[in-house]
């Protein structure tokens, strides 16, 4: 018997625990060979209120077991999203969350308000790895107060589920996790990319035009498992694990470490069928161990 992979994450019922990560699936319409029925949910490419051009090339660099990206949140802005993409999402049989971004808490709030009630939008993932322009460009995600303030502002403007995506560049992720939990987050996603740099020996300067980029891919997996686990230990709301998942075994590490679900990003670039394969592999693992459902999976989650 096929094990039951359904999972409830903060008000959203997912048919499986594997979610497409923001920025690695576009708006869900372009991935070739995608088996949509394997998707538990999808998080859209990060969006701002207004359209953004993005950063000049080069935007990506391969690194050992990973890649750096500096796309600069290129995107059409919220109006085009509502017009061009949400209507298609409304027809799909899995929830689509919108990854929202801003330069001030008010901008995040405004975005949520604009998208609240739009058919096809099932919830929000707040990307707090953005610089807070009002506070001199410090990242929201590094500062428990700023992170909580963004969360609270969004929370007030929508009834849809609000997930907060944490940055890994902190000394204690538990502090931020608890701050956004108290501010009303329904779930956490851990983690976004790590900041990295790569130098071009022929120009004696960074390879990326933006100089730094976010590191993703298998290289960061052990760090992501640790951080997702630390976040899960710190809070009562569900945690969605993200970072370097390419195989079912990788996803199972996050699930055992206390995550309710997982997201797959970079691996989709390499193998467009990754999500379907991870999903099937999780089912196969549960079956081989005699578990009837994902909820039977033993978790390693000593509480803080």
């Amino acid at each position: 018997m096929t094990p039951d992979l359904r999972v409830e994450v903060a008000g959203l019922s997912l048919r499986g625990p594997v979610i497409a990560a923001s920025g690695t699936f576009g708006y869900g319409t372009e991935v070739p060979l995608l088996e949509r029925r394997a998707l538990g949910a999808m998080v859209s490419k990060g969006i701002f209120l207004r359209a953004r051009t993005g950063t000049p090339p080069p935007r990506i660099v391969e690194t050992p077991g990973g890649m750096l990206n500096a796309i600069g949140l290129q995107g059409p802005g919220v109006d085009a999203l509502i017009r061009d993409h949400a209507p298609r999402w409304a027809e799909w049989d899995f929830p689509v969350l919108v990854n929202i971004n801003g330069e001030s808490p008010a901008e995040y709030g405004e975005l949520a308000a604009r998208l609240d009630g739009v058919p096809g939008v099932a919830g929000f993932e707040i990307n707090i790895s953005c610089p807070n322009v009002e506070q001199g460009g410090l990242y929201f995600g590094n500062d428990p107060r700023a992170a909580a303030s963004v969360t609270e502002t969004v929370r007030k403007r929508t009834r849809l589920p609000v997930w907060v995506k944490l940055t890994p560049m902190v000394s204690d992720i538990g502090v931020i996790a608890r701050a956004v939990e108290s501010a009303g987050a329904d779930a956490l996603c851990a983690i976004n990319t790590f900041v990295g740099m790569s130098i071009d020996l022929s120009t004696f300067s960074p390879r990326l035009s933006f100089r730094t980029g976010g590191l993703s891919g298998p290289a960061i997996r052990p760090l992501a498992v640790h951080l997702a686990h630390q976040a899960a230990r710190a809070v009562r709301i569900p945690v969605v694990g993200v970072g370097g998942i390419a195989r079912a075994e990788d996803a199972l590490e996050f699930l055992i470490a206390g995550c309710a679900a997982v997201q797959v990003g970079t691996a989709t670039f390499v193998n467009p069928r990754t999500i379907a394969e991870v999903n099937a592999g999780i089912a196969g693992f549960l079956e081989s161990k005699g578990f009837e459902s994902l909820s039977d999976l033993p978790r390693y989650l000593p509480r803080d």
């Binding site: 070739p32 090339p57 080069p58 935007r59 290129q74 989709t268 670039f269």
Partner: protein, 258 residues
């Protein structure tokens, strides 16, 4: 889905390899679906294990029954590993990707202008132009005679070398005759010269690529009208004048002379 056209993912067995210029090799692999549907200028994204994380994009050089061919030189780890493979080894082959050259119905003559590894999409372009009953002029340049691709296709050929060791001394662009349609591929510096001479030429550019399938936005091509689009979806073939050449970084691998 790739703008509505089908994309295939298959394990392609390597079936052969031949040297076509100094250090430049054609690898043949068995990929029947792609062989049956690829258009000149489109590319495949190749992966293998153990190997680098990301796939490596290569133009389809030629189609031969159920085989497709790619041409490459060793420029880094990925190409070194590809060139160390033997017949029977398998590559994961994703494609055809991107928009290829538009041959249209109007033009009666075409000139294919390539520099160095920029020869990559040209044999297939020559075959498809010939099938569309165009007169094909093959123009190919490289640093020196030994670097010229020894294979050519079409009704006439023009050669150019930097050192004058074969054909015209100078660039392929300078050596090329006029025609109804110009298709070009090579180092960005060369393509910029193409853009100056023939704003309406179709050029195949290269960029770093993350996915090759339109989802990562890593392959940004700066457009003359402002903004970026994706080499792997809207490209890699562009109208020469559509590109903001000053903002497009130079990639080295395509170019023997860059």
């Amino acid at each position: 889905m790739n703008g509505g056209r089908p994309t295939f993912l298959s394990e392609a067995a390597i079936t052969g390899r031949r040297e076509v210029a100094r250090g430049m090799f054609v690898i043949t692999m068995h990929a029947p679906e792609i062989a049956g549907s690829v258009r000149a200028g489109q590319f495949v994204n190749l992966g293998w294990s153990p190997g680098p994380l990301l796939r490596r994009p290569f133009s389809v050089y030629r189609v031969d029954g159920e085989q497709i061919e790619v041409v490459l030189k060793q420029v880094g780890v990925g190409t070194a590993q590809l060139l160390a493979m033997r017949a029977g080894d398998r590559l994961s082959c994703l494609g055809p990707l991107g928009h290829g050259f538009e041959l249209g119905a109007g033009p009666r003559s075409v000139v294919l202008v390539s520099g160095g590894l920029g020869v990559a999409p040209m044999p297939l372009a020559a075959a498809q132009a010939a099938a569309a009953r165009m007169r094909v002029t093959w123009v190919h340049g490289a640093r020196s005679s030994a670097d010229l691709c020894s294979e050519w296709h079409g009704d006439a050929a023009v050669w150019a070398t930097d050192d004058g060791s074969r054909g015209a001394t100078g660039t392929a662009v300078a050596a090329a005759p006029e025609a109804d349609l110009v298709l070009a591929c090579g180092p960005n510096r060369m393509l910029q010269a193409v853009a100056e001479r023939w704003p309406d030429a179709q050029v195949a550019v290269e960029t770093y690529m993350g996915c090759g399938t339109g989802v990562c936005l890593g392959c940004a091509v700066p457009l003359a009208r402002g903004g970026y689009d994706r080499a792997c979806m809207e490209g890699p073939v562009y109208r020469a004048a559509a590109i903001d050449w000053s903002a497009l970084p130079s990639h080295l691998a395509y170019a023997v002379t860059a």
